[in-house]
């Protein structure tokens, strides 16, 4: 007597669970230009690599003889799989079943998914659509009682932020707990025009007098600028590729280190045009992204959070094949000054690098914190000291290259106190407590005011001080370790990456990062 009958019954349930929310709901999903969760997992993961856990968990009905009449799967699907040959855990909401809400979910599956990724020390990709297993008002009727709100298992989410890479893809309307899962990640992606993210959607918001469409309330333009989401792409396929690309720079967990990849890019490659990259006119700006692309291994720069805190560009890259966290000032946004949002961006990025043991390279052009009423209203100094503290708490190898401005407290945050970092400067570098422009009037007020010709006096003082602020004079007294030829910058960066690699240490950081 074999066990074939039981297995056949299991297969029936598995087959039924593949129906998701039924033909009509699946059609509706497709008509809206969105894949179903099973299609998404198939496209995201290597062929036939998905090992689903709990495929026959769901809701079954039986007749009076206890024979199965119907079966509907749970609206959260998860398991382990491979992407580009590498093990990961993936879990996602089935929007065709009660919009992914708790009504058709089994809470333990969400917990198990989190626990699985954390325990197996594998990256987690969460595909979110709907309320991500959160409750809806209808829950009160389906359960017959009101629940006291709690987010069971959030401890796992918090722990995993400091242990494994978490990527979240918001591929439709995402609200409540779903939005929380999207935001609680190291990297999150939306699909333009098809995704919207909010704490509560338009019908709820209308109750407080705001009549807005999904896009107006939580479309990609809103959420990228707010920093709640890191990137937006045109298609779901691009979202999957972004997730893969992001993970390619990170280890599976903090208990591993990234490996050096082979590169055909010469570590000694020089770049002639960099000698002219910084304009001599200090009021003129320049584009930082072409400089970054020039310095890193060809086509390896992966920007994160492009639309948020824009005076700093952050992203991963390869330098001589090593995975590196790169920050660079962007003078096109507030001249490179750190705004409140920039400071928050720096905190998260530096924590990310520290968590996964990526050495940091910082291309510095920071005239200071943003000043003015707007800056004060946004608490720039508070976020600024938090960013500085995040930098001071790092232990990962660090290289700062001062390209132009380095002023004030924000400028000082290119290093971490007295601990060792590698550092050099381009000949275009300028530094001080305050830029001379604007600072002279304050510091030499009485000299200028008491002069017969205040304008001439100001010019005289400016000329005198300009001669003193040459970076070469600072180098003579070893205030800066080295002035380098910009054309040789890549060589310096590759040498740093080689020196930093053996210094990386596995393990959790003493302060795990928050999302």
């Amino acid at each position: 007597m074999s066990w074939k009958k039981e297995l056949e019954e299991k297969l029936i349930r598995e087959k039924l669970s593949e129906n998701l929310g039924g033909k009509e709901r699946v059609k509706k999903q497709h008509d809206a230009g969105r894949y179903t969760i099973r299609e998404r997992i198939n496209i995201l993961t290597d062929k036939s690599s998905f090992h689903e856990i709990g495929k026959i968990s769901g809701s079954a009905t039986y007749d009076e003889n206890n024979d199965l009449v119907n079966f509907s799967g749970s609206n959260f699907i998860f398991g382990n799989a491979k992407i580009d040959g590498r093990n990961i855990v993936v879990g996602g909401d089935d929007f065709t079943l009660r919009g992914g809400s708790a009504d058709a979910s089994i809470r333990e599956k969400h917990l198990k998914c989190e626990q699985m990724a954390l325990s197996l020390q594998l990256p987690l990709i969460r595909i979110v659509e709907g309320s991500g297993g959160g409750g809806s008002v209808k829950t009160i009727e389906t359960t017959g009682r009101a629940n006291v709100p709690e987010v069971e298992g959030w401890n796992l989410v918090v722990e995993s932020m400091g242990t494994i890479p978490r990527v979240a893809l918001g591929l439709g309307s995402v609200a409540g707990l779903g939005a929380a899962h999207l935001a609680c990640s190291h990297y999150s992606v939306m699909v333009k025009e098809k995704s919207a993210v909010f704490v509560a959607g338009p019908p709820v918001v209308e109750q407080i007098g705001q009549k807005l469409t999904k896009n107006e309330l939580g479309g990609y333009e809103i959420q990228l600028k707010s920093g709640a989401v890191d990137a937006a792409v045109d298609t779901e396929e691009e979202a999957f590729n972004s997730a893969k690309k992001f993970l390619s720079y990170l280890p599976n967990s903090v208990y591993q280190l990234t490996e050096q990849l082979s590169t055909e890019d010469n570590p000694n490659r020089t770049s002639e045009w960099l000698i002219d990259a910084i304009p001599r006119d200090i009021k003129s700006v320049y584009k930082i992204r072409p400089i970054i692309e020039e310095l890193v291994d060809k086509n390896t720069f992966f920007e994160i959070g492009k639309e948020y805190g824009k005076s700093i560009v952050t992203g991963f890259c390869r330098i001589n094949g090593w995975s590196i966290a790169l920050m660079a000032s962007d003078p096109y946004s507030y001249g490179g000054c750190w705004t409140s949002d920039t400071c928050k961006k720096v905190q998260k990025f530096v924590d990310l690098a520290e968590t996964f043991h990526l050495p940091v390279i910082y291309l510095v052009d920071c005239p200071g914190f943003q000043v003015g009423l707007d800056a004060e209203k946004k608490g720039t100094i508070k976020e600024g000291v938090r960013a500085m503290s995040a930098i001071w708490q790092t232990t990962t190898p660090w290289l700062s290259i001062i390209m132009r401005n380095c002023f004030g407290v924000a400028g000082a945050a290119h290093k971490r106190g007295s601990s060792y970092i590698s550092r050099c400067a381009w000949p275009s570098a300028r530094w001080g407590s305050l830029p001379l422009e604007g600072g002279i009037e304050a510091a030499y007020r009485s000299d200028i005011e008491n002069s017969n010709d205040p304008k001439a006096e100001l010019e005289k003082i400016t000329t005198r001080l300009n001669k003193l602020r040459s970076p070469l004079r600072s180098a003579e007294t070893f205030l800066i370790e080295e002035i380098i030829d910009p054309r040789n910058t890549r060589k310096i960066m590759c040498e740093f990456a080689d020196l930093a690699a053996p210094l990386r240490k596995i393990g959790m950081t003493s302060r795990t990062m928050r999302p």
């Binding site: 700006v285 824009k310 003078p331 096109y332 946004s333 001249g335 422009e437 604007g438």
Partner: protein
């Protein structure tokens, strides 16, 4: 629509109404934190309206130009 991403003083308007603009063209220059920051066209388009004048103080999020891209 093009909105300002920085606050500062508008020091130059480099385009006029009905002008066709190419990608990467400088449209306006805002002085911000003592730097001259150009606002550039992200793609080819046509200027429909200009909502500011030289010397105006600009805040983050202010409406600057109306541009159409399909014409």
């Amino acid at each position: 629509m093009i909105y300002s991403e920085v606050s500062g003083t508008l020091i130059k308007i480099l385009v006029s109404k009905n002008q066709i603009i190419e990608e990467d063209t400088d449209l306006l220059v805002i002085e911000c934190m003592k730097m001259h920051i150009p606002i550039t066209a992200k793609k080819r388009g046509k200027i429909i309206d200009i909502f500011i004048k030289e010397g105006d103080l600009i805040s983050e999020g202010d409406k600057l130009l109306e541009v159409v891209y399909d014409f």
